[in-house]
Chain length 232, copies 2
């Protein structure tokens, strides 16, 4: 649906021939994946060496990441990967849940038969993934499932925003599905959402979706609480 980097300034569909874009995409992934952990200082010269470029494109990439909130620029004191407090993470999860709930409500009223068919098809196929406990496969399916719903809002702006927030939470959702029965429960929740959509019950679908997202969030809530230090 969109490039990995989330917001892409060189919008449209051209290749990211710009060095700063490439660097930004790589850094985005590395921050989202946790390879660059929160609080880590990002030295311009160091990154420049790493990418075989000069500091200029690195700087531009960092500036853009700062707008997204992935890094924090402390004027003349360097750039660090944004420290996200547990409180803020939970705020982001709540926002994400509400956005998804909003999307599915609107999608319920606007979804086309083709889109609905695609959702059902994907959902059916996901059963095999659950039985195999194919976590990576289910994760991929799950992402697509939600993205199809974004698309079914038939509001491209809304879909972009939803995806951006989702991507921003990627780093914290990493361990989400690793916990036992969460996979099967997730699929059950999807099914309930699909049923509500099929019956045209937007509000019901919305409630189900919110619960679904909050379940996923709380599944890792305690995990985050143990991982993240209050004041660093």
């Amino acid at each position: 649906m969109e490039r990995a980097g989330g917001n892409d300034p060189s919008a449209g569909g051209e290749e990211p021939e710009l060095l700063s874009d490439q660097i930004r995409n790589v850094l985005t992934d590395e921050i989202a994946s946790g390879a660059l952990p929160p609080g880590m200082g990002l030295d311009e010269q160091e990154l420049a060496n790493r990418f075989g470029a000069s500091r200029t494109p690195v700087r531009e990439a960092l500036r853009q990441l700062a707008v997204t909130g992935l890094v924090e620029i402390r004027p003349r004191r360097g750039v660090i990967v944004t420290q996200t407090t547990p409180e803020r993470i939970m705020e982001m999860f709540e926002m994400s849940a509400e956005i998804e709930a909003m999307c599915v409500r609107i999608a319920t009223y606007r979804i086309t038969p083709i889109e609905r068919g695609r959702l059902i098809e994907m959902h059916d196929a996901s059963e095999a993934l659950v039985q195999r406990s194919d976590i990576d496969g289910y994760d991929k399916f799950n992402r697509e499932f939600h993205e199809v719903i974004y698309g079914a809002t038939h509001n491209a702006f809304m879909a972009e925003q939803a995806l951006t927030i989702r991507n921003r939470l990627k780093a914290f959702r990493r361990t989400q599905l690793r916990h036992g029965s969460r996979l099967a429960r997730s699929r059950e929740e999807h099914e309930a959402i699909l049923n509500a959509i099929a019956q045209g019950e937007g509000d019901e679908a919305s409630r189900r979706m919110r619960a679904h997202m909050l379940n996923a969030a709380s599944a890792i809530g305690r995990y985050i609480a143990t991982q993240t230090r209050k004041d660093v």
Copy 2:
């Protein structure tokens, strides 16, 4: 609640001593106000001269504006103020309405007596503005009114996102209240929202808010349709 520029990379609360930040803030306002109309090319050297700076901070500012979507960077072919189609504008308005509706629902359940008191106080004071047809004054009040509601969600992330989208629509909402009775109608709608909040009816407040926002949007919908060309 936040600086005019919307997303501020130099987050926290320091003064924007960075040249690129100052330039970005100015350009943000000029784009939002329409002084720099959609489609206008932005020459780096020209801007540098205008701000009495070099191209470097100008470039950094433009890169950041691109992330927000205010300008579009076409690699090696320059930067233009983003062309926004009427369809996309309406999409943005819909998203904005839904976000506001979401915020007020959550705010209804979490608002403190102090915050509620402040809303009522502001609302009462706004009557005088309506009677005077003080459009600028009402516009200012209106912005604060909505921002207090954002704050009452007690979810800072959500509040930021809501404000960012609101700011992004500023340019198109400019003429919103210039149309006759819209001022009085707006205030009536606020009152209905306040009543729902007072009774703790989140869903009702949410519906009222959505209608309120869509009224405002449709009030200028035709205006936009006449102003914006389909394919430019």
